[in-house]
Amino acid sequence: MRIGMPHMGNLYIPFKALFQRLGIDYVIPPVNNLYTLSLGVKHSPEGLCIPFKLTLGNLIEAAELGADTLLMVAGTGTCRLGYYAKIQERILHDLGYNIEMIQLGVSEYKLFGLLGMIKRLSNNAPWTKIISAFRFGLTKLNAIDKIERAVQKVRAVERIKGTANQLFTKAIKAIDKADDYNTLKKVEIDYINQLNQVARDTQAQPLIVGITGEFYVLLEPFSNLDVESELGKLGVEVRRTTFISEWTKFSLFLNPLGMNEKARIHKAALPYLKRDIGGDGWESIGEKVLHAKEYDGLIHLAPFTCMPEIVAQNIMPSTKENIPVLTILCDEQVAKSGMLTRLEAFVDLLERKRQVRTNKRQQITV
């Protein structure tokens, strides 16, 4: 049995660690590239969103590499995502791949469902082994996200643009290689130190731009044309609350205990949207309301034809908490230069707004 799985950001690293420790054969399809996208687009129904097309591309490439068991998220809900695994299975069978699709209903079956599935995949390995491997995977995930947070801060103020990104790529490789907790810890500390020592523009007061929207396009840089690095190049500090580590922490461990990190966000969105509409629509609105004071502007990422995000996009302008929002719809047609132009214009607008604000303050003090 060989396992294949679609990409989402750097999620393949913790999974690789997990499967390696359990001795499961795991093939990693090539990271998302134009060929993956074209494969996905070619074989999907045209009206579906980019997460579907990219994950389908990954699955096809994994199947090409010999994977016979494919993992894909699923679950019931109002967003189409819950149905994707079924459609993809059908498409793959029609293409002639003899594969078995395993649906990961994480939001339904929680931690025990996930662990149970890993047990089945690992040919009934003992629970102690599974839990220790799972814990190691989680530690890697946390390390990656911790470094990414630091990178987000450095990108905005670094003297030589691109240094932080280079360090990030190296860090990911090092984390991938790390084989035990000690090396992992060392790598994490080492790279955070290196990031702290990057030459910075000490005078700069970077604009703070929040980034919110649909889970997959937020976390997969290929699908959003690496909007975070581009913003960093423009000297903007990006803040994002969605991280895979955060999500796993809450949805696997704390939600069953009755703690919900999203309760705060949902409460903020309540005056404008009273109910969960599936996907991340509710959270998008909540983030705008919640962070209006903190952020200079907000970038709202959504896949083209995403149902919940369209509702969110329609509701966003009517909130009382008024910060500029730029909605970027991601699909296979988006060109980088078009997006850059929009980002530059948006950042100019934010800078001008800030200037007006500081001028006003000065006048008052005079």
Binding site: G47, T78, Y272, K274, D276, G281, V311, N314, L329
Partner: protein
Amino acid sequence: MIRVGIPRALLYYQYYPMWKTFFEELGSQVVISPLTTQAMLSQGSSRVVADTCLPVKVFLGHVLSLVEKCDYIFIPAIRSVKRRAYNCSKFLGLPDMTKAVIPESPPILDIDIDINKGKRDLYQSIYQLGRHFTWNPFKVRQASMAAWQIYLDYQKLISSHRLTPPQAIERILGTPETQLEKHSSHLIPTQDTIAIIGHPYLLYDEYINHRLIHRLEQAHNKVLTPEMLTAKELESATARLVSKAYWTYEEEVVGAGQHYLASEADGVIGVMAFGCGPDSVMMDMVRQQANRLKTTAFMSLTLEEHTAEAGVVTRLEAFLDMIHRRKRRQVEVCV
């Protein structure tokens, strides 16, 4: 008397008789928006972002036409009407979205309908809705029972007499709904049987589909619609194609598509709105099935506000010609 406005769009075709009875039993007057016009559509679409789907834009146009004509507008948020099958996000966000993009609208009566939460929750929602008109729970109960009875009658009427929803609404409530003049096509024998599948709000809104049914009938075709099948037939056909429907209102697409592709019809036309989430998946399933079966011709017609009448007519003519030729060839082969 309190006036409650109901937009003639989206779920209107499924539930209007029920809603009307409920509100009238509670002593209010029901105001309904007129048939869709160009002005309504363009006003509706000027309020929302471009990616919003056509039916929602039409819906907002209807809401705009009701502003100042009523005291409340009824827009329920229907999450599910069946266990473990959910509804499109746009239906769920509809009340809040309307409030956000049409701030001048009268207060919106929104209730959550979610069968998954159980009966108690449903009754509570209905009572909450009734509270706007009366404090008396028995009166609300009576009204909802009467409404439910009308709904059952309405469904029976549609499937037993093979009526389209507008015709059935006309019969059951006695209000004229259709503008269609009766034409004398009965003299000429009908040529082909064409099934059209899709959501009622696309099939029966004559403005947005450019009078599709009328055109087909004028060309002497017998038109079949999803409502003409019984719930059982739809369910079993759906089960054959996708095992279990994931969305609530998709049986009328998948079930009807599968049923008509396998029997009865000479051609099937799938009508969907551009950017429709559930349909993008489900209509594709039907299209693939048509490819697999290779017995019945299938055409998918995607509607949006820029769809020109001439384009629809051309495609329709070509499709009908093709079916015609196909039939003739079959006859020749037999001879």
